[in-house]
Symmetry: C2
């Protein structure tokens, strides 16, 4: 089962796991170099500048996320299920301590000192996610599954903040159960009585 990923993809994979662990300033080209056995200069060949590397990385991440959300909307029967699958995805990531922690949740906390080209992409990711959540909530309301206190856009923002906040808290305190303890009641409240 050899790795068939291209070098650029391997670089992005390693960079992503390093960012998830330590943020934008928490890794260097030397770290990537050591991790995949390639010289620093070769990384610069693929990604001339660090900001560009991370920008491409966030683009890739957003693309994957959007594809996942899209297929979720096509496969899951009801808006309630779609929302539940979304939450469950992160819950299992956190419980298994599997790396795919949300790279944008991490970068978001460093927003203030991110290069513009990165910061704008992180914001774009959140916009895309909020749009998906909004449409799911909207559909749920129309089908009589959800009952919202506020406008779907606002409710989507709140849900997103809860999910990412809970994700950070659960990891920081080393208590995976915290994620579902925070997010669970939040989505339970959306359900129509």
């Amino acid at each position: 089962m050899k790795s068939t990923a291209s070098t650029s993809e391997k670089i992005l994979d390693i960079a992503q796991s390093l960012i998830v662990a330590g943020g934008y300033n928490g890794f260097s080209y030397a770290d990537i170099s050591a991790a995949i056995g390639i010289r620093k200069a070769s990384i610069h060949h693929h990604f001339p500048a660090k900001a560009e590397l991370v920008a491409v990385l966030v683009d890739r991440y957003t693309r994957q996320a959007q594809a996942g959300l899209q297929s979720l909307r096509e496969q899951a029967a009801s808006p309630a299920d779609q929302l539940q699958f979304y939450i469950d995805y992160w819950r299992s990531c956190i419980e298994n301590a599997s790396q795919p922690f949300c790279v944008c949740a991490m970068l978001a906390s460093e927003m203030q000192m991110l290069p513009d080209e990165v910061a704008s992409r992180v914001r774009a990711h959140f916009q895309g996610l909020a749009a998906w959540l909004t449409s799911v909530l909207q559909a749920g309301v129309e089908q009589g599954l959800f009952r919202l206190d506020k406008r779907p856009e606002e409710q989507a923002q709140m849900l997103m903040a809860s999910v990412h906040g809970a994700m950070l808290s659960a990891r920081a305190l080393g208590d995976p159960g915290l994620f579902i303890a925070v997010v669970g009641p939040e989505i339970a409240m959306l359900r129509a009585a």
Copy 2:
């Protein structure tokens, strides 16, 4: 209105605002040096190592926070008010965009790569805060003000995660209103009907 703070305190003040903006790896002795007009070496006189500086900083922050929470418990009449004042403190900080963003919320997201002496202190801060929240919730239950779904310890952890998560989200998305939108319903739910 001259500053009467000692050099060490000025160093800690600047360091704190720098950490809040960019995290542990987001600032250097040179940054502090430039900000308060003192040489790098002089900072090393006060704080030999960076990890030590931040450890002292977190200690100071925790001490201040505990003092604030203590006086809150003495002054505010009911547990419900105490909780409300706590939330309001952060809400006003975020809405005024005044710097006193929680330095531990920031450091928590970098937990994995913090020096041990810093990480343990950040955890200690959260433990202390959780203890305060637990006792407030407990008192509220005894006075018939709150009705909790879970044990007070758990509920306190959840509340803490929500507050810090909402804080990070509100700042990242540049939407201060998000803080109260996320935290508000959370505490409303605690209230006995």
